[in-house]
Symmetry: C2
Subunit: 223 residues, 2 copies
């Protein structure tokens, strides 16, 4: 049985979201790829392997039909996207923020200062209070998710504004083989998780690799 | 052959430094434990196992005799300690900052805002320019270092203000069995590394464990 009735992946035909959208459909979830341009999204999806096929819809429609919405657009576009869609979220919908506030200026990576403290808290501030928010999939490289045959083999950090949001989000993470969800608590912990992404990017550049990611040592076996 | 002629561990009889001081002597390094109260440090060292014995000295003396100084005092004491010792550092001395700017208020952990961006940059700002600075041993739990029989089994992130400082620091890290040094670049990356420590503390509290630490996935084997 699918974990959610319908998952909207906003930005699901772009760099950040398409690997996630495909892997979730393969795991048995029903996925709608939300886009500003549903026709373009439909064309993109048509090129995906048959076992990873999803539907396409306009962002507002995708949100209105979903009990889980994943925000997989570049961080600078989040506020405008939520302004456009905020009134469409169903009661008790869960929003998962996967964005990271980093920018590349002249080839040098820096973190964008976020007034709310982190991208996840920025998302929280732009949504009505009846919507629940969690953050995860922040430290896994997008292109690794996108390479459907490759094992993921790492931990994903989950933070959220309620225990229930974190439990649901952790279950979603663990739908993808090779991922272990590590609950790190309140949504405000996203700031540290987003720094971890910055660190992974720094390690990639310094060591000329592409897939730096993390595992936590010291959790009980079977966790 | 020892990697350094003499290593001063300031705060080496305290919570943060004593495991490090002992493990470095076991690895063959000559260690001076610097203290405000060398008599007390001497008494502490006398209780260490024979194969982990170090010398004790006043902070200024320890620094003057060392080519490597490790700062293992609580973060809030760093500025005063460096004001007291700055004129004693030898030319081209290397300083390794292991401090993390976190505080516990009413049982809740929060990060201390550091004007310079990170603890490591704070240290840099309080030292003369002829002294080199690196940061590491920030994410390994102090009490794990202190339990000499336990394997460490994790990565340590190394940042520093020069390639040479990072190479020397990485070599030092790898003197301790079970540790792999991961060079993350410029000293300013310490901000992200220090967030990783905050994340480890959050994971410890949430999962009622004591030893959360990290490994990087995706580095070439043999790295």
């Amino acid at each position: 049985m699918a974990l959610f009735s319908t998952i909207a992946v906003l930005g699901g035909s772009g760099h950040q979201g398409r690997g996630l959208a495909q892997r979730l459909t393969i795991a048995g979830e029903r996925v709608i790829v939300g886009s500003r341009d549903p026709e373009r999204a439909r064309t993109a999806i048509a090129g995906w392997p048959a076992h990873a096929r999803a539907e396409a819809a306009a962002n507002r429609d995708a949100v209105a039909r979903a009990d889980l919405t994943i925000l997989a657009v570049p961080f600078p576009g989040v506020a405008a996207l939520l302004a456009e869609t905020a009134d469409q979220f169903t009661r008790d919908a869960l929003v998962i923020d996967v964005t990271v506030p980093v920018t590349f200026v002249g080839g040098k990576m820096t973190m964008i200062a976020v007034a709310e403290g982190s991208a996840a808290q920025h998302v929280r501030a732009h949504l009505p209070s009846h919507v629940r928010v969690a953050g995860t999939f922040k430290t896994i490289p997008a292109h690794l998710l996108d390479d459907l045959e490759r094992p993921l083999d790492c931990d994903e950090f989950v933070c959220g504004d309620s225990e229930a949001a974190r439990v649901q989000t952790s279950a979603l993470v663990q739908l993808l083989p090779g991922l272990r969800a590590v609950d790190v608590g309140a949504l405000s912990r996203a700031e540290s998780v987003e720094h971890l992404t910055a660190l992974a990017i720094a390690i990639n550049r310094r060591h000329k690799i592409h897939d730096a990611r993390f595992r936590v040592v010291g959790l009980p076996s079977g966790y």
